[in-house]
Symmetry: C2
Subunit: 141 residues, 2 copies
DNA sequence: TATTGTTATACTCTATAACTATA
DNA sequence: TATAGTTATAGAGTATAACAATA
């Protein structure tokens, strides 16, 4: 198949939208939503981050992120601390409860997907691994 | 590379989340949101659909879809007509204005992605084409 | 002045539950 | 009774604009 579809953009977008919708419907009905769990996962990976850093990673405005952090603080999942080196900055860090939620959410979110991937052939999994890297590259370009 | 990453599930999910977030930030700020445009695109592909069909395709409840259709009706983008064959069913169809929005939204949503895909090698595009089909299969399984 | 962050307001999207109408 | 759809209510997520504090 040397000739790839001229509809690749449409196909890829449709596939992404479809599986993303599936992720949403498969997710556990915990007390926290997508954006809030995304913050906890970012903090688990990188340690404490400023509000601006969090908003850039999620590609939302600082106003939006500040409100997501408000919800997390209210639930006791993160703490805000003023940066001693720059009084304008707030460092947002996960509490033990928040770190626990992040680990559990990552495991649960992937259980459905991992089961599906196990049904594929090794070659198919290799294709998806290469595609994941390509998609990341495109998304971050 | 016979050994694919044991983190494939995490990698794939992260890649999908990342590009989906990018789609969102690249989308035009039209008057209609994602769900509403999704309905118009479904109607453009399939013609008039019932509320239940629309809600199943979007994987949302009929209550949610009814409200999305309300917004589309208010804007003049779709019409509700009672199914003559079954008085319980409503057939939702796009108006000319709705069909126009669907076509424009599809083209615009893809313009950023198509530009990125054009920068890839043919082999990379082939990988993404195969991966798209695999992702669709997983999402619909 | 520029940067960082917060809040008020408003909108989209979604779910649940109670409801009506038709089969 | 079962199916199809609507509405009321509530909550997450987001954006914009106005604002305060710090650099």
């Amino acid at each position: 198949m040397r000739e790839t579809s001229h509809e690749l953009g449409a196909d890829l977008q449709a596939a992404v939208a479809r599986i993303y919708s599936r992720f949403r419907s498969e997710r556990s009905d915990g007390e926290l939503g997508d954006a809030a769990v995304g913050v906890l996962i970012a903090l688990a990976k990188s340690g404490a981050l400023t509000l601006t850093e969090l908003s850039e990673r999620a590609r939302v405005t600082t106003g939006s992120m500040s409100q997501t952090v408000n919800r997390l603080v209210a639930g006791g999942y993160v703490e805000r601390d003023r940066d001693p080196a720059d009084g304008r900055r707030m460092l947002i860090g996960a509490t033990p409860a928040g770190a626990e939620i992040a680990a559990a959410a990552r495991a649960h979110r992937r259980s459905w997907l991992d089961a599906r991937l196990a049904e594929l052939t090794p070659a198919e999994r290799a294709t998806l691994a290469e595609a994941s890297a390509l998609i990341r590259r495109i998304a971050d370009s």
